[in-house]
């Protein structure tokens, strides 16, 4: 394994651990969004339950809150678009370097 490959491997492992460990360390925690905690602070400071003055567009269109499953679908779509673009180009770069190495020509 080359040096950078090793670095990437170790770094990925650390990132994964940081992301996953809280799930095991804090059993039974809610893992809600920290925005929710944010709105609690707003309520605490203003002393009243804050009522947002506009509703999200999507909620208005479908007349209610976006169902959880659909929301996770849309988040997946977002991730998918991103991952697709990143690795499409990265794949092309990888193949290009391979081709350049094999033929000794430069694509630039």
């Amino acid at each position: 394994m080359s040096k950078s490959k090793k670095t990437v491997f170790i770094l990925s492992l650390i990132a994964l651990l940081i992301a996953v460990l809280p799930l095991f360390m804090l059993k039974g925690a809610e893992f809600g969004g920290s925005d929710d905690a944010g709105s609690k602070v707003v309520a605490e400071i203003t002393g009243t339950d804050y009522k947002p003055w506009v509703e999200p567009v999507m909620n208005r269109l479908i007349g209610g809150e976006l169902p959880g499953e659909v929301e996770s679908l849309l988040f997946c779509v977002q991730t998918g678009i991103g991952v697709g673009v990143v690795f499409f180009f990265l794949g092309r770069f990888v193949e290009r370097s391979k081709w350049e190495k094999e033929t000794g020509k430069k694509l630039g």
Binding site: V41, V57, E65
Partner: protein, 250 residues
């Protein structure tokens, strides 16, 4: 979603029905309707010059060096990915990263504003995450202030001859944290504490956001280093094209 989470969601839904409001329980951005109108407009106006600078930076890059557009697309896609991953943190709540550090390092402090606002509009309209009225404030914290600091730190590390990867790590993770500081500040300006004013209020918001965000900022730093290592290995000519290899962004 597991059963427990479903229960929580339905519980919130019942509450929402009872009070006729729709609490949005996701992390990071200021929610729709949570900033008074004058602040929405003010932050929007503040964003304009940065967005214009970003547009011109991208236009110049496209004219000078068409090949760099692949890297720009990748940097934008990186923001898409990282800001869609909600990750559990040590405080027992979830938050997500920004992903803006990479674009700031590769394309300078301004181009990110355009990439960031695209993501924010996507999330505000489709996901009810963030909001169109708070778009200005969210753009300023995530796509302008954070990246500018990231870029500054990266350049500073270069100047001080810090190891390149360490510089990238610091730039991306501190930029991520700074985004949260600005978000707290924006909320605090709109909701100053009755005793103590904006500062006390800002610290309160920061107290909620910061502990959750620290581990995520570390992950963001790591992921940014990984993708840059990948690019340095396979896309050297593109990186040379945008001036990355000469130790600074054009």
């Amino acid at each position: 979603m597991n059963l427990r989470e479903k229960k929580i969601v339905s519980l919130f839904a019942v509450f929402a029905g009872l009070f006729g409001i729709t609490p949005t329980a996701y992390a990071m951005h200021i929610m729709e309707g949570y900033l008074p109108p004058k602040y929405c407009i003010a932050w929007g106006v503040i964003c304009l010059p940065f967005l214009a600078a970003g547009y011109f930076a991208i236009k110049k890059q496209a004219a000078q060096n068409r090949k760099s557009m692949t890297l720009l697309a990748m940097a934008g896609a990186f923001v898409f990915v990282l800001s869609s991953l909600k990750i559990p943190s040590v405080t027992g709540s979830c938050s997500h990263m920004t992903g803006t550090g990479l674009a700031a390092i590769l394309f300078g402090p301004f181009a990110v504003s355009i990439l960031g606002i695209i993501v924010l509009i996507f999330q505000a309209t489709l996901l009810a995450h963030g909001g169109l009225t708070t778009l200005g404030a969210n753009t300023f914290s995530m796509a302008i202030a954070g990246p500018i600091l990231s870029y500054g730190i990266y350049i500073l590390c270069k100047k001080l001859k810090v190891n390149n990867n360490a510089g990238i790590f610091l730039a991306a993770s501190i930029g991520d944290l700074f985004t949260y500081c600005i978000t707290s500040f924006e909320l605090a300006l709109a909701y100053p504490s009755a005793n103590g004013g904006v500062v006390v209020s800002a610290l309160k918001f920061l107290g909620v956001f910061a502990p959750t965000q620290v581990p995520l900022a570390i992950i963001e730093g790591i992921l940014t280093v990984i993708i840059v290592i990948g690019l340095e290995t396979y896309a050297k000519s593109e990186l040379i094209g945008i001036g990355y290899m000469d130790g600074g962004v054009k």
